[in-house]
Structures are given as structure tokens and as C-alpha cells.
Symmetry: C2
Subunit: 119 residues, 2 copies
């Protein structure tokens, strides 16, 4: 039962699109990531995913709209919903998702990664 400081943990993240685990709550993982640029269109068959913006701005593209998520804001992407995260400038986010969620969901490509590493 130690506290976790998001800003301090974020200093350990060196690469974009490379989420690291900071906590476990029931069957969910809490992760931190730094994003910059475009990600892959994908959906998660069974997993809902929460994005909380710690610093910067994240655009979540859906097939019918774009949502701009700013610092201190969050958005939940329900399972089955296609989405594509885009960050024009670097954004720092906290993610909540079930353990073993594949970052690219139904798609497998060079960005695919299962985060197993704790910081």
C-alpha cells in the first residue's frame, strides 16, 4: 500500500505508444503512457477502456466523430467501438483496462504490444 505519483512514474517512460503498468485493481490494470502521432484504428472485442489525460490533449477519433480530451478529462471507449487515438503533440495519459488487453485490439501490426512491464 504505497502511493503512486503519476508525474514521477511518467519520468520512467521513454517511448511513445508503450504503456507501462503502475497498479492493479481487481482484474484491471492501471497504466501510464506517452502518445504522439497517429495510432491504429481498432476495437476491443470484450474490453472497455478508459483514457484519462494527465497532461496535454488527446483526440479520440470514432467513425462518426472526433472527441478532444484535455487535461483533467476522461473518456470511456466501450468494447466493440472502433477508435483511433491521435496526439498532435505529446500527451500523457492514464489508462484503465482489463489485464492482458492488447493495445491494437482486433488488429495486429508493428504497434501491437501487450503491456506486461511495471514501473
Amino acid at each position: 500500500m504505497n502511493k503512486i505519483n503519476l508525474k514521477e512514474k511518467l519520468t520512467y517512460i521513454k517511448k511513445h505508444w508503450d504503456p507501462k503498468i503502475i497498479a492493479e485493481v481487481n482484474d484491471m490494470h492501471v497504466k501510464l503512457a506517452k502518445l504522439k502521432g497517429d495510432f491504429t484504428w481498432h476495437f476491443h472485442e470484450n474490453e472497455d477502456e478508459l483514457f484519462y489525460v494527465v497532461k496535454g490533449e488527446l483526440v479520440l477519433k470514432f467513425r462518426d466523430k472526433d472527441v478532444l480530451v484535455k487535461e483533467g478529462e476522461l473518456i470511456v471507449v466501450p468494447h466493440g467501438v472502433e477508435h483511433k487515438p491521435v496526439a498532435e503533440k505529446e500527451v500523457h495519459i492514464m489508462l484503465f483496462e482489463p489485464r492482458k488487453t492488447l493495445n491494437t485490439g482486433n488488429v495486429e501490426n508493428e504497434k501491437t504490444k501487450v503491456s506486461e512491464e511495471w514501473i
Copy 2:
């Protein structure tokens, strides 16, 4: 799929120790609450609980130590672990816990509440 602004949602919370739901992720609820004063010693038989401090400072008392959690910090209290939240001044927090988690866990008293209300 709308974004949620924590500060804006917090304006709807008028009472201390009265968490309101802002989002659902898989089988978890995301809640906001304003705390001030002492809560009840309790534990949750099956549910882990995450406390994230949005504004202010929260002390989480455990039987063997106190942890001061500040703005931008979080702590996970595993199921089965006795704890007592204390806030000398008002603190604003975000909670992640399984649906239907009873706020006072194994204890039932005047503070007991199942949060069912969304804001």
C-alpha cells in the same frame, strides 16, 4: 462516448462522503467524491479500491501506517485490508471500484451508502 471533465462534474457534488458515479468501465464504476473529516475503519471483503486525489490531500490510515496522498497521486487498497480515510481539509477524489461496492465495507453505520446516482 462523451468526454467527462472532472472539475465540472465535481460542481454537482454538494455533500461530503457521498460518492457519485461518472463512468462505467467493464464491471467497475468510476466515482467522484468530496471528503472532509474522519470516515469509518472498514475493509472490503472482495473489492480492491483505487483512490486518486484530484484536489487537496487525503490521509489513508492503515493499522500499521498512515499514507498521505496528494494531488496527482493514487493508492490502491487491496481487498481485505482495513483502512480509514481522513481529510483534515476538504479533498476531491476519484474512485475506481467494482459496481455495488458498499462504502463502509464490512461495517454498517450512519455513513453506509451504496452509490447508485450518476452525475
